[in-house]
Amino acid sequence: MKNLVIIPAYNEEGSIVRTVEDLKENAPGFDYVVVNDCSTDNTLELCRKHGFSYLNLPVNLGIGGAVQAGYRYGFYHGYDTATQFDGDGQHDAKYLARMAMTLESENADMVIGSRFIEKEGFQSSSVRRAGIKYFTGLIHLLTHKTITDPTSGMRMCNRKIMAEFTVDYPRDYPEPESVVTILKKKYKVLEVPVIMRERKEGKSSINLKAGFYYMIKVSLAMIIARFKR
């Protein structure tokens, strides 16, 4: 099994080194690639200095385009699994082995790391939790499947999904929308409980002001994804 971890990074100089070191130490058997999305800080220099494996995008593509670059890389290089993993220190590398085990033993196409199964660790603010609950409900309405953490950025998938994502991946706020697309195509999606940390550096890409736009945009995108042929 060849496993790849994709770390999208936009201005993550405060946490990128820690994230990669955590991966190297706690996730043996996983290759990784940092996708530098035209950071304006020292993210790229740090990757060079530490000899990290990285992709350097020539133009800023946003989170969707950066992650897709990683899936494309994994697909071209014959990886069996690819895992999205945030570069801001929220995710814990020790869960990757369990996710890979679930993917293989349950014959799943995608495994999502969920904060809300065992409800441990950082649970996000109540406003965000309400938003996530709403997405869970909408996904259930559209696909009759329950995904407790549809916005989770910690997701492992097999080659079939990698191929799908290489062809088509949403440009921004990709997680909930792509889950609907995958479920609609009858792929098997499972969740594994994980504990996430509160981010130490950087800010979430979604603040309260953008939240309203985010909810409407993602809702519509999910509905369109459900009825897309």
Binding site: V35, S53, L55, N56, L57, V59, Q68, A69, Y73
Partner: protein
């Protein structure tokens, strides 16, 4: 429509047609866009030469004032143009995105390949050179 206005419009449209043809021949505009603009110019030209045609058409469509019909179709046309531009822009964005991803992967692969071949130890040397050339 006064004769003076008619002449002004006809002359303007004639210049516009010449300008479109020049842009197309100099490859500053794709022929498929040029064709659309030429068609629009010719239609305006026809109305400038035979203004009565305009009045007849608006009567046929039940629009009281010919000018209102003109405005209606002009706005409709502009909406269509803007809509098609949004679609064209999205297509361009998708192509740029794919190219950027392919380029990033190719750079990494070529860097690793040249490193494995020459076994040089200057980390990121090739990458830095490429970026300096860009600037």
């Amino acid at each position: 429509m006064s004769l003076r206005l008619q002449i002004i419009v006809i002359v303007c449209i004639a210049f516009l047609i010449l300008y479109i043809l020049k842009s197309v021949s100099k490859k500053k505009m794709d022929f498929k866009f040029g064709l659309g603009w030429l068609l629009i110019s010719v239609i305006i030209m026809v109305f400038a030469i035979w203004p009565k045609l305009l009045a007849k058409m608006s009567m046929l469509l039940g629009i009281a004032d010919p000018v209102n019909m003109l405005f209606f179709f002009a706005i409709l046309l502009l909406i269509m143009v803007v809509f098609s531009l949004s679609k064209a822009l999205t297509k361009e964005q998708d192509m740029t995105k794919k190219l950027a991803q392919e380029l990033a992967i190719l750079r990494k692969d070529s860097w690793e390949y040249s490193n494995s071949k020459k076994n040089v130890n200057n980390n990121g040397a090739l990458d830095t050179t490429i970026e300096q050339e860009e600037k």
